[in-house]
Structures are given as C-alpha cells and as structure tokens.
C-alpha cells in the first residue's frame, strides 16, 4: 500500500500540538490553570492534557464510545467518539478519545455531520452483531444496547449473512467468549496487556475475521480475568459464576468493600431474590482503580454455599450436633465462667478476628478487656509482629508514586493482587523503581529495577550488601522511599523480615512503610484492640500455652489454626491441649471440628460495619442479603455473651459500637458519619486511621548455615489455595494448583529424581510426600512449596520455634 494516500503530512505536522501525557494520574493535584475549550458553544475549563472525550463528559456533553476506558491508554479503535474540532481548515472530524484539549479549541458533539458519523459507525458496529439481546447476560446494562438507542440510526440496512462463530467458548476456567457479539474494541486485550501484564489474549486473523483469542492450548489464566468481563462493552465476555443467573434489571446493588484480602477494593454487591450474584469493581482513586482480582470477584459463591453453618453446633458423644442459639449461648457462658473460675483470665485466649468487621473486632476486644483476657491475636503466626503498624505508614498511592519502592514482602501478585496492579503500573509507567528483596522470583520480578536474591534467614545481610552498591545507594539517597513489607516465607521466622526492614530503615530513615498483612481486616482487628499485648499473647505463644495445657478456653473467631498456622503440629497439639474450644465461623473447618461449641457467623455481604485495609483506610461494608440460617455477626455474639457474663460493654447494638469506636479510637472521630453514609455509597475513599499498638520485645533469633545436602524451604501462598472461602466457591476451588515442591532444574540431578515424581521431604521433626517440580525461578539450594494447598501438608515440617526450615529431599 502507499505510505500516505490522502493526508497532507506537512500540514498535519505543523498543526499538531505537542502531545500531552494523559494516562498518568498526578500524585497530588497540581494548581490547575485550566484550558478554555468551547464545547457545543459553551466555554468550559478543562484540565491541561485532558482528552476531549473527558472534557466533553465534564461539560455535560456525553460522547458515545466503546473502546475508550479512562484507566487504559486510548487506541481510537471503535471510532464511535467522533466529534468535530475546528481546525485551521474548517471543522475536522477527530476521535475525541485520542485528542488532547487545547486552548481555544472549539468542539462540537452534536452537529448533523457528527450525528451522521456516529450513526454510521453504530450501524456498522451492529452489522455483524447478532442482536441476541434477549438471551444475552449484558442486555439491560449493555453500552452497545444503550448507545444504539441513544446515538444509533434506529434501524439497520444490513441484509447480508452475519459472522458466525461457535458460541461461547471457554477461554479460561472462569470466562466465556462469544466472538459473534464481540465488537473488537480492544478493551479486554488491552487490559490483559497493559493493566494485568498477562498478555494471554490477543487479536488473531485480520479485517472482518479479526477475533479475540487465546494462544493455542494456553488459557486466559489471569488472576484478573474477571475485569475483562466487567469492562466488555457488549456481552462477548461472560463470567461462569454469573452466566444466566439474573437480568440486570432484577439486580439490586449496594456499594461495599471487598474483604477477601487487605487491599480493600471498593465493590458493588449485587443480589437478586436475596442471593448474592455478582461483585463488580468500583473505581476508587486511592485504592483499586476499578479493578478486582478473580478471587475477590467470584468469592461470593462461598457465601451462597449450602455447606454454610446455619445453626449452632454442640459437641456431644456422637459428635457435633445442632442446637438452639439460647442453648448454645448458655453453654458458651458456662464455658467462659468455668474457665475464669479455674484459672482466671489468663486461661482464656482469643485467636482470629481478622475476617470480621471493625465492629466485630472492637466488640470482642472490649469483651476481652472487661474479662481481663490479654491473650489475643488476630494473626496465626503467619504474618508479621503487630508493631509493624507503628512505623510511619505509607498509603497505596504513596507507594505507587514513590521514587523507590522496596519490596520486602510476599509475592504481591499471589497475596494482594490489586496492590500488585498498582505497583506494577508505577513501574510500567516509569514513575517508580522497584527494588525487590526476595528469596526467589515473584510475579513482580520482571517489573523490578533490581531484584536481589537472598537465602532465607539472611535477608538483613542481603539488604546491607545491596544497599552498599553505589547505584542502589544513590537511588535510595534520592529519598521518597516506600518499603512494602510483609511475611515472605512461612518457613522462616518473621524476625528475619523485621531485621531486614531495620537494615533498610537504617539506610533510609525517612522511608515510609506499607505493611502488607494479608487477611481481610487484620489491620482493623489490630487497631480495634485485638493486637497482642505482650509476648505471651502472640499466637505462637498462645498455641504453645494451649499445647502445654495452660489454656482452659480457646476462642476461634473465624480462625482455622490447623490450616493457617505454619506449624500444623503445634496447632494440632494446641487444639488437643486446650480444655475447651469455642469456634465462631461460617463453615465447619478442620479446626472447628475439634470445638466444643460452634457458633454460625454471618458472612461478608450479610453484615454491615466497616473494614480497614492495609493502609489503615476505613471504609464501610454493607449488608445486602439476609444472613444464612440463624447465623449472627460476631459482634452480636460478644454483646450477648457480655450480657450473660454481667459485663457492661458500653453498647448493645451496631450503632452503639460505631459510636464507641468513634469516641475511643484515635482518628475514628468521623466513623459515624462514614457509616451513616454507607447506604448511599458515599465515603468511597473512607478515612485513614493509624493506631499505635503495643510494642513487644522478642528474643533475637539465630540463623545457622545450611548444610549443603539440605534445601532451605521457601513456603508462600498462592492466590488460590485450600482456604475455606476458596474451596467453598465452586468456580474457584479447582484453580488451586495443588501441592508440589519446586527446586532449581540444576538440583534435579542432585536429588536423582525427575520432574513429576513423588519425593519425600524430610524435616527435622517430620516428613511429607510431595510432587517434584523444577523452575529457574527458584535459586539452587532452595525449595519452594506453596502453602495450604489441597492435599498438601508442608506445615507438618515447619517448626515455629526455628528461624529457618531446612529439609532433605529424597526419592521415594
């Protein structure tokens, strides 16, 4: 083809304005001089660098569009957003999604020629569209449908045969693709490439045969695939968990915050006939930018599970049997009284509380205070010591705009996926340099400026030697450093990570810290008073005390130590050694099976309150459906118990708790207003609260050198694992990759076994059998095992009392 057939290159170059960067969001609002643009005859002040399409929307002139999405770079592909802009040679038709505003620009969005062009494009978009709206999930909330009504020609003259493809084909375990409905807007493919970094779907073929497709035999296995369904402007992409479940006009929705992990993405919860049916991401500027991970998005399935606990259960000779709430609460009261009488408050311990709302945690913390119970920990020795909260705290936005982001934490892609998106974006847009310290490759490694390896146990040493590198030193010295710190390795003491953090802070005293503890509301639980008060009240010590018979009553607030404590043997001994166990949970878990009393808890979506994300941002969560069976929110159990134990908590309902939090917790003064606004979805950005928790001093740890025959274990979480809420969601459960032990390919010969064979993993205390895998992501001498995978028991070989875990790997 000719290189240029119609446009006059020279003129256009002279006319073109210097291009403005449009995709970056400035960290702080800069003084806004405003660009005066005339839109449909009225002067409007636009942001410098803003796109015409956004300026028009601000000015109240909606421009129809399909491919444009404010969180992705514009491509100008659908051509629907054509408007007229006056140029030196009269009005010119331009795509408003790729044209930046300019001083004195005259834009018209509704002239006859614009209308003709927009109608023409819409007619062409509909030419091959099957118009199967009556059986399409998107019908009723479909941008194509809506804009065909508002900006379309009304009828089609297309008489020819439409494109035909096999109707929907699964492109992953969660997403179906209907290529007939697809209008090739490039949104999903751009999302996969630009936002998620999983370039697994792309266009194939050309022209009229163009279609979105995966690579052969390689599914769209992205942790973020659900977002493509949400941003699809037609019904081409549908999600398996929602397909044919409801029509949009039958859905009711409220805004809430996802509590699957601690990022705290804003969502809307949609239900019909009192059943949770769909979560959609809401664009929250400081947090999730509209994105959700698939685990958060499709987690609602577990709330609908018929295996949910509906009634209280009591342990009898014949096992757990159903009982009434009044009988259960009487029993609970007896168990508390008995424990207090036997050995006082020190015989009672509360584990968990990180799965509930701030109000739940506050009520239980207040009850514990009143009873004098100090043994309490919302974590299960699988996070970091709570005093990490006392460091100068960074927000997600600060991390995503810092000059240097130091990652000293878990694989963000696996544990806090949307935080991964934000940090990845910072790296991809060249805002931030990422300095990663990790024992092995993570999902972030390919975006990192430098990724430093260390052997478990020696993080601080690695940090010190890296920071001595002149290039890294000068990068750190430039200031604006945020350290993202979390538990990297469950087979390694958290003291190692904290020592490495100290080494970083020593080199960059002004650095802020973003603590990435992963459980949904762990920050809320810690800040609302469930943080351990002393060394003996930390989870590991509680479990030891229980194992040694010093705990009369162990209360599990949504905690499953058998599954979540890195040391399964200790957890098992603790549950056996505790005289009595009360479990408040949504499902029967391996731990609740040992309980004397099981109280059914209300799940997410069934209870109102607030939650706190990893930055300390408090946002409202909303009740959308009625509770399952007779389940109750945790706070209600605490209030009821307090009344029965003759304790005055100072509140007896949710509003009272909120008022009490506002009155007593520093920084929460506006909590009542925030909670009151929840029904209308205001307060999307919430309030930032930073509460100081008790400092606990711990004995320093010793690390031994690895014997060369051994492999040092790295145990970390995958997004999908044996967690109850994942396993109870039918769509998510099969996605858990399963247990295996991964070593460097060069170590295979040393083991003498091939990939895929079963090997014996022998620790100091016990052994387990796992499938062997090999990957260069794991350095030589290390072995990586995903934690808590169905059918795997790596926690059997981890000993909480040792700093690192070395194992031998032997052929069976």
């Amino acid at each position: 083809m000719s290189e240029e057939t119609s446009t006059d290159l020279g003129d256009l170059i002279e006319d073109s304005e210097p291009e403005a960067e449009t995709s970056d969001v400035a960290p702080e609002p800069e003084p806004d001089p405003g660009v005066a643009v005339t839109i449909n005859g009225r002067v409007h002040s636009a942001r410098p660098g803003q796109l015409v399409i956004d300026a028009c929307a601000d000015a109240g002139a909606f421009v129809p569009h399909f491919c444009y999405h404010p969180r992705m770079s514009p491509v100008g592909m659908c051509r629907q957003c054509l408007v007229e802009v006056d140029g030196p040679r009269g009005p010119m038709m331009v795509v408003s999604c790729m044209t930046p505003v300019a001083e004195g620009q005259v834009v018209n969005t509704a002239t006859p020629s614009v209308k003709r062009a927009q109608e023409g494009v819409l007619e062409l978009l509909l030419a091959n569209h099957p118009l199967d709206c009556p059986v399409c999930d998107k019908g009723g909330e479909c941008p194509l449908q809506d804009q065909a009504f508002s900006h379309g020609p009304g009828e089609s003259r297309y008489l020819e045969e439409k494109r035909h493809y096999e109707k929907p084909i699964p492109i992953s375990d969660l997403v179906y693709l209907d290529r007939e409905r697809c209008i090739l807007c490039d949104r999903c493919t751009r999302f996969a490439d630009e936002v998620a970094g999983d370039k697994l779907i792309h266009f194939i073929s050309r022209g009229n045969d163009t279609q979105v497709m995966t690579f052969p035999d390689e599914p769209f296995a992205s942790y973020f695939s659900g977002n493509t369904v949400q941003i699809c402007p037609v019904g081409a992409l549908t999600a398996k968990p929602y397909r044919f479940k409801a029509r949009p006009w039958d859905l009711e929705q409220v805004e809430s915050t996802c509590t699957t992990c601690s990022v705290g993405c804003r969502t809307v919860i949609q239900s019909s006939r009192d059943e949770l049916l769909r979560y959609q991401g809401v664009d929250s500027e400081p947090v999730n930018w509209g994105w959700l991970c698939d685990r958060g998005r499709f987690g609602f399935e577990s709330a609908n599970s018929d295996q949910r606990l509906a009634v209280p259960l009591i342990q009898t000779d014949a096992g757990l049997e159903a009982t009434s709430w009044s009988a259960a609460m009487s029993t609970a009261t007896e168990l508390f009284t008995e424990a207090l009488n036997r050995s006082g408050p020190s015989g009672i311990a509360i584990l968990g509380g990180a799965r509930g709302t701030n109000e739940d945690a506050f009520a239980w913390a207040r009850l514990a205070d009143r009873l004098g119970v100090t043994r309490r920990d919302p974590q299960l020795a699988d996070g970091l010591a709570a005093q990490i909260l006392n460091r100068p705290r960074a927000t997600i936005a600060e991390a995503a705009h810092a000059k240097t982001v130091i990652l000293l934490g878990p694989d963000l892609k696996e544990e806090l996926p949307v935080l991964f998106l934000r940090i990845r974006d910072a790296a991809e847009k060249r805002r931030s340099r990422i300095l990663e310290f990790s024992p092995m490759e993570t999902g972030m490694t390919r975006y990192a400026w430098r990724s430093e390896r260390y052997e478990p146990g020696f993080a601080a040493t690695a940090v010190r030697s890296s920071l001595a590198d002149p290039e890294i030193a000068s990068q750190i010295a430039a200031g604006d450093v945020v350290v993202v710190v979390g538990r990297q390795n469950l087979a390694e003491s958290d003291a190692v990570t904290l020592a490495a953090l100290d080494a970083i802070i020593a080199a960059a005293p002004a650095a802020k810290v973003l603590p990435v503890l992963r459980r949904g509301n762990v920050m809320g639980a810690l800040q609302m008073g469930l943080a351990p008060r002393s060394a003996e009240s930390e989870a590991s010590q509680i479990l030891h005390a229980a194992a040694d018979g010093h705990i009369d009553l162990l209360v599990l607030l949504g905690a499953d130590p058998l599954a979540d404590c890195p040391d399964a043997e200790l957890a098992r001994r603790a549950l056996a050694g505790a005289r009595r166990v009360i479990s408040v949970d949504t499902f029967l878990t391996s731990s609740t099976a040992h309980a004397d009393l099981v109280l059914p808890a209300a799940a997410y979506g069934e209870k109102a309150g607030t939650t706190t994300n990893l930055e300390g941002r408090i946002t409202p969560v909303t009740a959308k459906v009625t509770v399952h069976g007779t389940a109750r929110p945790d706070w209600m159990v605490a209030v009821d118990l307090a009344a029965r134990l003759d304790q005055d908590l100072g509140f007896n309902d949710l509003a009272g708790i909120t008022a009490e939090i506002a009155a007593t917790v520093e920084g929460c003064e506006e909590l009542e207003a925030l909670s009151a606004g929840r029904a209308t979805g205001t307060g999307r950005d919430g309030i930032l609260v930073s509460v100081v928790v008790p400092e606990i001093s711990r004995a320093s740890t010793e690390v031994t050198e690895r014997i060369s025959y051994d492999y040092r274990l790295v145990v970390s979480r995958k997004l999908y694992d044996n967690a109850t809420n994942t396993q109870m969601a039918p769509s998510l459960a099969p996605l858990a990759p399963g247990p295996c032990i991964t070593v460097n390919p060069m170590d295979l010969t040393r083991i003498g076994a091939e990939e895929g064979t079963q090997v014996k993993v022998i620790g100091a205390r016990s052994a387990t059998v796992l499938t062997l895998a090999a990957s260069t992501a794991v350095p030589r001498g290390l072995a990586w095992v995903p934690f808590n995978q169905p059918g795997g028991a790596i926690s059997e070989v981890i000993d909480l009392d040792t700093t690192v875990t070395d194992v031998r790997i032997e052929r069976l």
């Binding site: 240029e4 073109s16 062009a117 494009v121 009229n208």
Partner: protein
C-alpha cells in the same frame, strides 16, 4: 482508436535519461561488480567525503523530488521534519509494495539492489541515522534474495557498517520481511510491524513518524523508488534532477502499467509532461489498447485512486494536475480497462481486495468494506435490489464522509476510504450497469465479467 495520432511517431513522445532503471536490462546489474562497473557507489563516496549531511539534504531539497510511495510529499522537506538533537533516529525504507498493479519497487529491488542500498546510505548520512530498516514485502522472494546478497557484498566492501569508506560515518541496515499484509505499507503500521506488533496503523497525530516513530524515536519512512533516485541526484546535482520533467513534478518517474494494453510493464518517463495517452499508446511504452479496443476507464494511481475516464487521457502525469482532477498518481500503478470491462465486477474485485486487507482496527473499515463487498457480490450474483445502490453510497458515506477527493475519513488510515474510490467512480459513471444487473441479474451487452482478467483480476 484505430488511427495512430501523429505524435505516436517514435521520438515525438518526451523521453529522458534513465535515472534508476538503467541497469534493468543489464544481465549482472544486480551484482556488486555489475553495479560498481557502471558507476555504482560513486555518489556515496562523494557524499561522505566531499559533502556535509546538510549539503546532501540541500541537494535533495533542491531536486524537489516528490516521494514515490503515494502521497507525493517532497522527500527533502520530509527529512527536515526530524526534531533537532533527538537521537537515536531511524531510517525505515518501505519496500512493502502491495498496491494492486504496483510492481516498480519490486523490480528496483530485484534488478538494482545496490542502487537502493546506496540511496539508503546517503539518506542515512543526510538525516543522521545510524540504523536503517529495509522492510520488504514477504512475497517478494527474489527481491529478498538479491537484497541479502547485495547487502552482504556491501558489508564486505566496507560500504555498510562501521566507518564506511574510512570515514567516521557508520550505519547498519537491517532487512525485514513482511508477513503478507497490504496495510503494512502504511507507514505507521509498518513501524508497528517492525516492532513486532500486529500491523495496525497508529493515529496521526500524535504518532507522526518524524516525531514519534519506531520505538517512539524520530523516524523517516521513505519509499524504495524515492531512495533509489538519491544516488543520481548526488552525482548530478539536485538542480539537474529538477530540470527534468515539469517544475510541478520533477525528475523521471516509474509507472507500472497493467491491464488491457498491448505491452504492459514498468516505464520510466519524464515526470509531469508525459500524458496518459502517450503512455498507453506510444510504441516505446504500452503500444496501444488490446484488440484495437478503446479505454473505458483507467485507474491513474493504484487501486485506492478515483478512476479516470477517456476524457482524462490527455492529462499530463503531473501530481498537481491529477490531484486537481480528483484523483491521484499515488504509487504509479496504472490499470487500464477497455470497453469490454464489466464495471460492476471490476468494482467488486477491488473492493474485495480492500475488505480482505483491512487490518480490522477501525470499525468503519472492518465492517464497512466487507459490507460493500457483500452487496456488490450479491448484485453480481443476480440478487441485487434497487435500494442497494443507495446503501452502497450510504455505507461509503459512513467510511468517508462526503465521498469527496481527497477523502475525509472516519478511520485512522486511508485504507477504508480506498474501498470507496472504485464505488464512487463506478456507481457515478456507470450507474446504468449496476441498475441493469439489479433488474436483469446480468451485465449489459458487450461486457463480460471475465473481461477483467488481465486488468484487475489479480487484485
């Protein structure tokens, strides 16, 4: 058309020196020895040793050579668009010649690859590029082979690479083969393809290659024929080039004529002064219309151009003149259709080409060209409806508002509007042929669908 006009006597048709096709008849013209023995690489030596880059640029500017890729934009002016002081900058040579009926660049690459390489080197020197990419259409096997051999010899003789001819000028040339997409001839799509992406055009602005081209660096994209002229300009001076042809269209220019002429082929003719009639009928060129028939219509500049009719035959092959008449010389591909041509079928074949070659990025082109093609096919198959003609023009209107020339477009690149040209031309001029098809399901008397073979059949 049986009478031969007086000016068809040999010598009466304007001729000129063979600037770039001189070695076409030379058996070893494509070899290094054959090129050097006929004065090859003297221009490069002269440019590097006697001239500054600015002087080279000035010569090309003086020549006022219009780019031969299609837009006809003066090459010297284009080079001047590079922002000062921004490096690295790249030179990209567009050898993805795929316009139906165009085969001049292929011959230039097959028969005189060294001439192109020399032009590339001089251009790179003039614009300050240290890396050039020569993108050759995937289907041109012989051109690829000969370019590889030529480049190898050029490297071996220190004409490409580090410190060329002992000077401190260094440039590397990378050869890249296309994968069979017409759209990659569009310069921004070619850049995308070079970067390893799908060949889809970028929006201009902001992605003007001179400012944000290959790898977002300043890039000059030149056509093969354009650069093949550069050695001659350096050897003989820009003014001498300017003196050939017409002041509005300087130099000699290659036209590739195909269709219903007696001897189709590639002809280097004085630019701006030769007329279409001379080209079609002079014995030294095409030698008349086949079977003594007469011209019914012809495409003056590639399949995307508006068609011309017998009344345009005496128009000179001059860019401004042709532009003013509502078409373009484009890449110099002239397709001649004689009286037996079925205009509906011809129109359909061209539209089918564009619908197949649409990259699929912009809705109007992706959906519109296919729709047009299907309507035309349905008419050809005898199932036309009276409203089809209006629909055809309405769909054209959605792709190219106003159906004017030069076309306005709702798309990023001109491929979509290209499919509009044949319809606009044929439906307006030969509406009765379409209506005859709609009414009777067959062509008018005297034309045959198969008559387009040898004309636009290869489209």
């Amino acid at each position: 058309m049986t009478d031969t006009p007086a000016y068809h006597v040999p010598g009466m048709v304007p001729t000129g020196p063979k600037l770039i096709t001189g070695r076409f008849d030379q058996v070893d013209g494509f070899t290094y020895e054959g090129y050097v023995n006929t004065g090859g690489y003297t221009a490069l030596r002269r440019a590097l040793t006697e001239m500054t880059p600015a002087q080279v640029h000035d010569e090309v500017r003086t020549s006022e050579m219009q780019g031969r890729g299609g837009a006809g934009f003066p090459a010297g002016t284009k080079w001047g668009f590079l922002p000062a002081g921004v490096f690295p900058r790249y030179l990209v040579i567009n050898g993805d010649e795929s316009e139906p009926g165009t085969y001049k660049d292929r011959l230039l690459m097959e028969r005189d690859p060294h001439q192109l390489i020399e032009g590339v080197l001089i251009a790179a020197y003039a614009i300050g590029a240290a890396q050039a990419f020569l993108y050759v259409r995937g289907e041109m096997a012989l051109a690829q082979e000969r370019l590889v051999l030529a480049l190898k010899d050029a490297y071996a003789n220190n004409l490409v690479g580090r410190n060329i001819l002992g000077t401190d000028f260094s440039v590397d040339i990378t050869l890249t083969w296309g994968a069979g997409a017409y759209i990659v001839g569009e310069e921004t799509a070619l850049i995308e393809s070079l970067e390893g992406e799908r060949g889809m055009p970028r929006l201009k602005p902001p992605y003007f290659p001179a400012a944000k081209g290959l790898y977002m660096q300043p890039t000059i994209v030149n056509n093969v024929e354009t650069l093949a002229n550069v050695p001659w300009i350096i050897n003989h001076g820009g003014q001498e080039f300017h003196d050939i042809g017409a002041p509005t269209s300087t130099g000699m220019r290659i036209f590739a004529v195909s269709g219903h002429v007696n001897s189709p082929g590639v002809f280097e003719v004085p630019n701006g002064v030769t007329t279409f009639r001379m080209l079609f009928e002079a014995p030294e060129y095409c030698g008349g219309i086949r079977n003594g028939s007469s011209v019914k219509a012809f495409i003056p500049g590639g399949a995307s151009a508006m068609w011309f009719f017998p009344e345009h035959l005496d128009m000179a092959l001059d860019k401004p003149t042709v532009d003013q008449a509502g078409s373009m010389l484009g890449s110099g591909a002239i397709v001649v259709m004689d009286e037996t041509t079925d205009m509906v079928a011809a129109c359909w074949r061209i539209v089918r080409f564009f619908s197949r070659e649409s990259c699929g990025k912009c809705t109007p082109c992706r959906e519109g060209t296919t729709w047009l093609e299907r309507i035309l096919k349905r008419i050809l198959d005898g199932h036309g409806r009276p409203e089809d003609l209006d629909t055809l023009l309405e769909v054209c209107e959605s792709i190219s508002p106003g159906i004017a020339w030069p076309p306005r477009q709702t798309t990023i690149c001109p491929l979509g509007p290209s499919a509009v040209s044949p319809i606009a031309s044929a439906v307006r001029k030969f509406r009765h042929e379409f209506e005859h098809y709609v009414q009777f399901g067959r062509p008018i008397e005297g034309v045959h669908q198969h008559a387009i073979h040898g004309s636009v059949a290869h489209v």
